[in-house]
């Protein structure tokens, strides 16, 4: 008897997990380089109920299985230090605390010492600081090569953005500030030649407002239906209790 009650409750809790994920996505609908969360549903174990061959399930469960791998739209910003990545790769940076991290948020800037950094001050790996007297106008090629004009107008190469890929991006550990750290589950970072760098653009969030709202509505309705099932189970127990008055 009580199994139906718990099956329905498990369904409610699964929808709650999904609603949390969708809310988080909606809050990040304008976050540069943000990838939506993927929520996976599954049914649970089946157990025998009475006669042989009669099996009843125990509800459903939801787990987050990492992030969307869809490419976010490239939006032009006309700012020379904005770079977007087209492809699955990541930009390697070194955080102020010395830890290496990967990011796709390419709103770069130059610090007081002429070094190329991300918005939060992490150093971009593979690029040398601007030499004294350089113009400060950076040109970034599709392969990530960074060049500038020197004092005499000649082109000065500053190195190359380090674009890497990992086997399992869902294994990356989020560090906040849209940065992620390598773990044993993600596999090592390897150079990724398939990803190209687009200067003057930023990658928009992969969250689509329309999809997220549809998910939210669907989730809410599924939640309501599971809660109706809880109510019905409760009513049935009340009726069963009424057999002996």
């Amino acid at each position: 008897m009580l199994q139906g009650l718990y099956a329905a409750a498990a369904g409610m809790s699964a929808q709650q997990t999904r609603m949390d994920a969708v809310s988080h996505d909606l809050a990040n609908v304008n976050t540069t380089g943000y990838k939506g969360e993927r929520v996976a549903f599954r049914d649970l174990l089946y157990v025998r109920d009475g006669a042989d061959g009669v099996e009843v399930g125990s509800g459903s469960a939801a787990t987050t299985i990492g992030r969307s791998r869809a490419q976010g739209a490239l939006t032009p910003t006309d700012r020379a230090l904005d770079v977007a990545l087209a492809g699955p790769g990541w930009l390697e940076v070194r955080r102020p605390d010395g830890q290496d991290a990967l990011t796709r948020a390419g709103a770069l800037q130059l610090d007081a010492r002429g070094r190329l950094t991300t918005a939060d001050g992490s150093l971009v790996a593979g690029v040398r600081p601007l030499p004294a007297g350089a113009s400060g106008e950076l040109s970034i090629g599709r392969d990530g090569t960074v060049t500038t004009k020197g004092r005499d107008g000649a082109t000065v190469a500053l190195g190359r953005l380090t674009i890497v890929g990992v086997a399992n991006p869902d294994g990356l550990r989020p560090l906040g500030d849209t940065q992620l750290a390598l773990t044993a589950q993600s596999g090592p970072a390897t150079p990724d030649p398939t990803t190209t760098v687009v200067q003057g653009h930023l990658e928009a969030s992969t969250v689509s407002m329309a999809d997220a709202m549809t998910d939210l509505i669907e989730s809410q309705r599924a939640f309501a239906m599971a809660s109706r099932a809880v109510q019905t189970q409760d009513q049935m127990m009340e009726i069963a209790n009424g057999v002996r008055r």
Binding site: G11, F41, V56, A70, E218, R228, T232, A240, G242
Partner: protein, 231 residues
Amino acid sequence: MDRGLSIAAAGMVAEQTRQTQLANDLANAATPGYKRDRTTQRSFGDLLLSDVRTGAAVGAVGLGPYADATTTDLRAQASRATDEPLDFAIQGDGWFQLRTLDGVRYTRNGQFTASAAGTLTDRSGNEVLGPGGAPVRVGADGRVDPAAIGAVALNRVQKAGEGLFTGQPAGPAPGVVRQGELEGSGVDPTRAMVEMIASLRSFEAGQRSISTIDQTLGRAASQVGNPAGTS
């Protein structure tokens, strides 16, 4: 004692099973690739009543229903687009093959991810197998060719829980694997809600029958045999 009591109780027990199943269906109304369950109810064998004096048959009396077997509605459901490179759906019949700790299992839920070794896995880390039985690899661009996954036809399909099924593979399936889509749940919410209400009322009717029979028996115990007007 009265046969009616056990008949009504059997009906209530059978409705309980149906109700548990409906609760499970409703909990999985949004689970991709979920297949809805149905429990068939059967009547216990009928008894033939006969007149004890003449031996003439009076007629049959049923002994109430019981939950007999669970069948799963395996029909393919409509897919919805997710535009996620590692979401797959099989259009038409067929099953994805997964290598689990308990051997090969099958699923219609194509919400996959990648392992650190670069193979395609489900959310529990079970490797997705290709048509040849070898694990499917995720390309350097983070994508998988849907043709590399391949759908297999199955006979004697049974639910194993956790979205997995067991069965006898029977060669390649006619279904086509499509990327960026997920198969919807097989639960029709409206129908499940209506069945839930019907089942609840049927359960209630069983309870009322028991109460009524109880009252009748009560009268029989306390009133029959009393002189008129003394009860």
